[in-house]
Amino acid sequence: MSDQDGIETPVITEATSILEDGNYDPAKNSESVDQCTKPESKSEPVASTRKRPEARSSNDLETSAVLPSQTSQAVGKDSVSKEVAQTGWGYWGSWGKSLLSSASATVATVGQGISNVIEKAETSLGIPSPSEISTQGQYASGETNVKENEKVSPLAGPFGVFSTISTAVQSTGKSVISGGLDALEFIGKKTMDVIAEGDPGFRKTKGLMNRNSTLSQVLREVKEKEELGTSNEVTMETDKKTYYGLLFDEFQGLSHLEALEMLSGESEIKVKSILNSLSGEELEALKFELEQLKEAFSLAEFCEEEDEEEEKKENEDFTKEMMELFSQLQVSSNPEKLTRARNTINEWITTSLTQPLAEKSEEEKYLEIQRTEQINQNSIEDIHAFAIRSLAELTACSIGLFHKTAALVLHGQKQEVTAVERSRALSQMTVVLCKELSTLSKEFTTCLTRTGVKEKADILNPIITAVFLEASNSASYIQDAFQLLLPVLEISLIESKTELPQA
């Protein structure tokens, strides 16, 4: 970890200065931006010591996000999304990828050097620097009214990116998003250049740089790299616990993914041969229906959903939503494993975030603090390990669920739902899962910033980044796995059509 930091620090400064050079007249637009953020800040009375760095950070981000939208609106959504997918930013923008209605399976681009970009861009995007986070934390720890801090924290610090994007949605609508991503891309390119000069040798996620391979190949490579890593440094116990690829495999994610790829591939071949055997009107009619399926796979709901309540979801909500979506699918399988895993993770987080309440008596408070401290004996390394493990587990479970769904769609009993209805439920499910990952990563970072109050910034920052990186990766893997379901539903649509007249 220490050598990595040594490399990073100079690069970060470089990236920041470049961004400042390339900054487009922030003064001109800062007013309108302020208007977006002000009501939010007002509604939450916070100590000014805490608020300032946050407000500034979201300003910075929104400024760069809003500005290019004015110049690039003509570019149109499609071209923007394509560009995004082609650059390393596809994956930082993987939440963004779903915000746009394009969400094509960009397996080939899985994280070309995302890790690099994100770690650096974090700074260039105006996300509060680690030192800021830790000063905030120090102030926070001195305050008695900790509850209020908790309220604000999901919006604070590194989560700025997500919350600002959703703020932008609320105020200005879709065009801002595409513009925002445009800006992210611009910054991304700049950052990429900087990184290319600076630090080509990056660790863990190096395997992801490979192009033109399937998702499982990519993840397998990650895992194998990590295995080599662990066998070479057996002593690094803590490090082993944070290898996403190894953990993903441990939760059988790779196997499920390969199985899903197999079913997807078989279905794709079938669909192609059927399409080849058709002609004329028949072919057109089928193509039209398949087009509808594809639309259901586009994840368009993401942005419309986003501006509704941003409130923290309760455990039951997630479970209920998944159960409901699954009943819509009408496959005789249930997401119990996934929801159980998710609830266990949430309990852990809740416990480690438990804070003494202000209205309690002194004695109670003292006891509470003692208890919390005990739970909070989790070091930032523990939280890091748990976060990565949780992300790997949830992703593996989700992909397992997709695999089972594919198997049941292909070989299950007669269906009472159409393929299009199923596609909608599945795409909704993908959205729910990705949002869940986003929420989780925010909560983990809250845990980290709180526990790491006294840590040096250069220790805390890479960990926070790693958690966000893996959460973003996880969301991408889930979205890519979801796309693997398309041929499966296509063939089920075709089969249900040919079966109908006989029945």
Binding site: L228, N232, V234, K241, S255, A259, L263, A407, H411
Partner: protein, 213 residues
Amino acid sequence: MEAIWLYQFRLIVIGDSTVGKSCLIRRFTEGRFAQVSDPTVGVDFFSRLVEIEPGKRIKLQIWDTAGQERFRSITRAYYRNSVGGLLLFDITNRRSFQNVHEWLEETKVHVQPYQIVFVLVGHKCDLDTQRQVTRHEAEKLAAAYGMKYIETSARDAINVEKAFTDLTRDIYELVKRGEITIQEGWEGVKSGFVPNVVHSSEEVVKSERRCLC
């Protein structure tokens, strides 16, 4: 998580629906008995490390297959990349025993050009009062196909460890003798990751010397 093992073996578990394949595997990998269990959809995946000799670990990847006929086209695809298999029948269900032939024929067709080392498992041996298949006839059948026979119970945890570790040892012996070899494009046996600290430091020394010359 322990990343150090000598080999990784892929084992497949097959047999009629409801003979208890998933329960046996879960007892082995999770150490508990699941009272209620949904029928397996397609394939499921489990893994566990087994220590066959002190310090010698083998990672088992276990493929749990659906017994239901409708998933056969999926499960078939998994024979090829398996080095070993547990063929289960339920000792209280004569039909599942009679189907053992068919299962063996089925695998033979789909495993070419490779081979699977099978063990015949008479499952649910805790239900001895309802037994429909005698130990003797099961042993006879197993011998006819060159398999070992073992009776297990996932509920009472009888012979579950033994069934898996014996099979693992047998495969390990075949690998050691070179009768089963690691092959490109075949996932049945893979070599594991062994710490090679000494080895790598030697390399460093060598290359340094070269530089000095």
